[in-house]
């Protein structure tokens, strides 16, 4: 994606879990890379593996197979010092600020703690000055109003801003935001997204942004890339405007078509993609072939239910894992050799 070495990369990463009902593969052979200042969105429904990817990227979970690299170094082979540097550089913002902020600590204490622990500044007074700076960065102003407050004295949106401020305390280069705005109200959601975009534009912070909402991806990730995940697999990847404007994978199409719009005429006349089944497959008993085939309206029997499609480059830096898309492309690309062709016939069609 970027010519220079990516900040963080996941290289053929898989993660399995043992459950009472057997072993499940939550993430299956996913490769992603995020460059400096990039925005990479991962979108998918529950059980898609997007949160497991986030946790592996944040170093909270070791992959079963594959490697996570930070600035080219394998995260789980680094020295203690390198690991500490990584810990500072990559920060996680959770979905639920109610659960992630300590209720008996003031906002000031919460923001001072990482600063004092990692010692970029010394002393309580310096720590407070830094805490006030952080609050200003996330638009909680004037900071004096917030430093001595407890989490329960803030609104949900304000708490989520504090969580973002804490993530910024150590000048991170990457923030992993896992459904960071899905629990806040619409108008507050936009202002938190705008704050995060400002941090990216002004401080060059990169974002790995995990969400179930393609409309939020369109807004937040417009200048970045998006990966669409379905039961542990990456099924489509590309630049955000491409994927939102013209999704190719049937699952991505279904997601985009399913989202209602805040426009009565548009939303009631929008083309919907009728799936064959509503059920997300059980991770302990995944379907054969393409994992989406039991729900896919374009399914080709004998192909989709037998052979798992690979993520293939379809041009313009875009990748799709779908037999039907691959076939259509072949039909439209006469120069590509097809079985039985003499290698000459293609030119006429062009």
């Amino acid at each position: 994606m970027t010519i220079t070495e990516p900040l963080l990369s996941l290289d053929h990463v898989s993660r399995e879990f043992s459950t009472r009902r057997g072993r499940i593969t939550a993430v299956d052979d996913v490769s992603l890379a995020i460059g400096r200042g990039d925005i990479l969105c991962l979108v998918g429904e529950s059980g898609s593996g997007k949160t497991t990817v986030a946790r592996m990227a944040a170093g909270l979970l070791e992959p079963t197979r594959g490697t996570v690299r930070f600035e080219g170094r394998d995260l789980h082979q680094t020295s203690k010092g390198e690991h500490k540097a990584y810990r500072r550089a990559v920060q996680l913002v959770h979905q639920d600020p109610y659960a992630s902020l300590n209720p008996v600590r003031t906002i000031g204490d919460t923001l001072r703690a990482p600063v004092l622990h990692h010692k970029p500044v010394r002393g309580r007074r310096e720590g407070t000055r830094r805490a006030a700076e952080l609050l200003t960065l996330v638009d909680l102003t004037p900071p004096q109003n917030f430093l001595s407050k407890y989490p329960h004295q803030l609104s949900g949106g304000q708490r989520q801003r504090v969580a973002v401020a804490r993530a910024l305390a150590l000048n991170p280069r990457l923030i992993i935001a896992d459904e960071a705005v899905s629990m806040v109200d619409v108008s507050i959601r936009v202002s938190i997204l705008n704050t995060m975009l400002k941090l990216r534009n002004e401080l060059g912070v990169a974002f790995l942004f995990i969400t179930h909402d393609l409309a939020v991806v369109k807004y937040f990730g417009w200048e970045g890339h998006v990966g669409v995940m379905y039961v542990g697999k990456l099924v489509e990847f590309g630049r955000t405007p491409q994927i939102i404007g013209r999704p190719l994978h049937p699952y991505a199409k279904a997601l985009a078509a399913a989202i209602p719009e805040a426009d009565p005429d548009l939303t009631r006349t929008k083309d919907k993609l009728q799936l064959r089944s509503l059920d997300i497959p059980n991770l302990t008993a995944l379907p054969s072939g393409c994992v989406f085939h039991p729900r896919c309206p374009y399914v080709v029997p004998g192909l989709c239910d037998e052979v798992a499609p690979r993520l293939e480059d379809v041009g313009e830096g875009r990748e799709v894992a779908c037999h039907v898309v691959a076939r259509e492309r072949q039909a439209l690309t006469p120069l590509s050799p097809s079985p039985g062709s003499t290698g000459e016939g293609g030119t006429e069609a062009a």
Partner: protein, 361 residues
């Protein structure tokens, strides 16, 4: 005034039968106030809400968390917690036979009959509203029995039919426990259950919140097809404007306990006249279109209901606010055909984004 009373329905106490509503009105809420007792004193969660719902229509109550939407729904079904009470106002409901009930003076069996036979509510967290130790079949049977329908076989038959209408495999689902079903399936079970006694009005509280996108779409489609088939009246509560755009005939915006704008869905979405509605609309990211759509946030946060601002409760966040808005609370102005907005400056209100850029904080 009181016509023939069917024998299976005990007459409500006389003071709960006051007049008839217009023929097509199912529910009429007039100047409703709901008050919570809090350690810091009484808090008004609903402030003077007035709304009429006509037979067969779908009304969306939209607003952010804490705006009082759910409290309003709970008050109508008399399901408020013990710390809350209706402190003022009335709500009248026209039951199936044409007579009118005064909801806040209903007692005992009338109240029980009103709930579920006349008006059913589907709650947000469908897991919590289904009893975890009862199979789905028993939910249907117990509901029917509690309302005097003792024929369990007939109930099961009806349940299967309703479950089919919400796109579920009736037999399989009836013999399942709630935890064996996915969130979307539980929500559809709750919807089917709410329809068991053929109520006139269904109140849905955040019917799609916390569900996956494809599941949300399925619920929306199910609700739409159910309405076409069964023709019930619907009030749904949501913070999701897109859901209102999909399903509502009319929309009412709620802010800090007040209904600040009411109108037909196209009027409210295309020519909103209350700045708060505009603020909400400008904050929703669209998915359609190949261009980037800039959005703006409403500055500030909703007021503390224990320390409401003077005048218009939205004035501290409003780019249109003037001296007048600080001094005086605006009434609901008629701003169009069946369209009302509580804003002194409604004639100037547009959806333009630049108005908000330098808004007060």
């Amino acid at each position: 005034m009181i016509g023939n009373v069917p024998s299976d329905f005990r007459l409500p106490t006389s003071d709960s039968v006051i007049g008839r509503l217009a023929d097509d009105v199912v529910l009429s809420i007039e100047d409703l106030w709901v008050e919570y007792q809090t350690p810091a004193g009484p808090m008004q969660a609903v402030r003077g809400a007035t709304l009429e719902i006509r037979r067969g229509e779908a009304v969306a109550l939209i607003g952010e968390s804490g705006s009082g939407k759910t409290t309003l729904g709970l008050a109508l079904l008399r399901l408020l917690t013990r710390t809350a009470r209706v402190s003022r106002g009335r709500a009248r409901f026209r039951i199936g036979d044409g007579r009118t009930l005064e909801l806040f003076s209903l007692g005992g069996s009338d109240l029980r009959r009103f709930r579920w036979q006349e008006c059913a509510m589907v709650f947000q967290a469908a897991l919590n509203s289904l009893n975890p130790v009862l199979k789905v079949r028993d939910h249907f049977i117990e509901t029917a029995r509690a309302h005097g329908r003792k024929d369990d076989r007939q109930t099961s038959e009806r349940a299967r039919e309703l479950l089919r209408m919400v796109q579920l495999d009736g037999e399989r689902v009836l013999s399942s426990y709630p935890h064996e079903l996915s969130g979307g399936m539980r929500q559809r079970v709750s919807i089917a259950l709410s329809l068991l006694l053929e109520p006139q009005l269904i109140i849905l509280d955040e019917p799609t919140t916390a569900l996956d996108i494809l599941t949300q779409r399925a619920i929306i489609d199910v609700i739409r097809s159910l309405r076409q088939r069964l023709n019930f009246t619907m009030m749904f509560i949501s913070h999701d404007l897109s859901l209102a755009a999909e399903l509502a005939d009319r929309v009412a915006t709620m802010y800090a306990g007040e209904l600040v704008e009411v109108g037909k869905v196209r009027d409210v979405f295309y020519t909103p006249k209350h700045p708060y509605t505009v603020g909400l609309l400008n904050a929703v990211p669209p998915i359609a279109g190949e261009e980037f759509t800039p959005l703006t946030a409403i500055p500030g946060s909703p007021p503390d209901l224990l320390a409401m601002p003077s005048g218009c409760s939205f004035h501290p966040r409003c780019p249109y606010a003037t001296e007048l808005c600080v001094r005086q609370a605006p009434p609901l102005f008629a701003v169009g055909n069946g369209h009302q907005a509580a804003c002194f400056h409604w004639e100037r209100v547009t959806r333009r984004l630049d108005v908000w850029e330098g808004a007060v904080r």
